[in-house]
């Protein structure tokens, strides 16, 4: 009883029981409880991570689809742009073509006009030449028919001739 009175002196029975009880509890918790809790934790982590992965996958897919649509839209837009450009070029070409044709037509008409003017002039010259010959002949016969000694008279004849000429040409 002397030893038992000192609370710091261990009791053999309790030491033995302590070792057995603690070891027993350790074995039970280690083999039956800890693995099950760890399993639950792992499963939970996987479930959460799986969900996150799934969401990430969906997000990636959505992004890819958006990218594809954007690309298509851009393609369509650039195609429309090129079509417009082509149309503009074609239009310009048509206008140019028409202008060229009009120009050609105009120059053709001008040339024709020139040609007819030239012909008329040739005709006029020819007829003039013919008329001048006749007139000269007439004048010469008149001159020959009248006296040429007077300078004034002579100039009067010329005047008359010219007037006649003007009158006849009108």
């Amino acid at each position: 009883m002397e030893a038992a009175a000192n609370p710091l002196i261990p009791n053999t029975a309790e030491l033995v029981v302590g070792v057995i009880a603690f070891s027993l509890l350790f074995i039970v918790l280690r083999s039956r409880v800890v693995p099950m809790f760890e399993k639950a934790f792992t499963a939970r982590t996987e479930a959460i991570e799986g969900g996150i992965a799934k969401a990430e996958h969906a997000q990636r897919e959505a992004e890819a689809a958006l990218k594809a649509y954007t690309a298509q839209l851009n393609d369509a837009r650039s195609e429309a742009q090129s079509i417009r450009e082509e149309a503009r070029v074609q239009g310009a070409a048509i206008i140019e073509d028409l202008r060229g044709k009009a120009q050609e037509e105009a120059s053709r008409i001008t040339a024709a006009a020139h040609a007819s003017i030239e012909a008329e002039r040739q005709q006029a010259v020819a007829s003039l030449r013919h008329e001048v010959g006749a007139l000269a002949t007439e004048l010469a016969s008149k001159i020959v028919g009248e006296a040429l000694d007077d300078q004034v008279r002579q100039s009067g004849i010329v005047d008359r001739f010219l007037t006649d000429l003007e009158k006849s040409s009108k």
């Binding site: 038992a4 009175a5 000192n6 609370p7 710091l8 002196i9 261990p10 009791n11 053999t12 029975a13 309790e14 030491l15 033995v16 029981v17 302590g18 070792v19 009880a21 603690f22 027993l24 509890l25 350790f26 039970v28 918790l29 280690r30 039956r32 409880v33 800890v34 099950m36 809790f37 760890e38 399993k39 639950a40 934790f41 499963a43 939970r44 479930a47």
Partner: protein, 262 residues
Amino acid sequence: MQITGHLASSAGFVPPSTSDFNLPPIFGHSAYLTKPIALVFFSVILISAFFILASRKSAVVPSKLQYAGESIYSFVRKDLGEEIIGSGFLAYVPFLFTLFTFVLVNNVFGIIPFMQFPAMSHVSFPYVLAGFSYFIFHAIGVKRQGLIPYLKGIAFLPGVPKFAYILLTPIEIATYFLIRPVTLALRLFANMFAGHLLLLVFIGGGNYMLHDSHLLMKFLSPFSFSFGIIMTFFEFMVQCLQAYIITLLSALFIAGALAEEH
């Protein structure tokens, strides 16, 4: 003071003493059939049953029971294992978990009606627990570094001037081989012992005063009882805290042995 002295001498109030912790065997004369031993075994059955039931399904979405069990387990696992030991902590979680639950339940038995005895106020049990902790952290150190380098690392701290070894070597050796296990055991033992003694004083005193013939003593008795109740709540806090502390210190020793470069 005079009244107390007078009463103590005449009616014979016996203050609680260390002999109050020496409970007689429940029956017979066997040293193995005592209340603390029965309580310790009961605690093992209780803890095992609770956690086996709680962890049985290991469901992703836990039931209330599983959640309760998991909360305690993950407290030890995270706050005492992961955050203190760091990498490779998982191997030591079963030990820490056993230590924490074993001490907690046996401590709390100290205030549960009809049990009302903390087994850890019998120094043998804390000695056993500190012994396990002591064995484990030294075993880890030896396994990690080999016996000679481990002992050398303890005795001769690297990076210390040679003459300092005169002072440091005995301190370090005493710390690792004597102070750590002894304080680990005695801290737990002393807290439980003192706490139980305190409750005995207030409740025993209240009881004594209630049965005293003096009217003033009867009148004062409820104060002693109510203080006993207040101290019971306080004890509950100390019991939880001590379970936490012994586990925390064991985790720190393990972490030290694992990480030891000195």
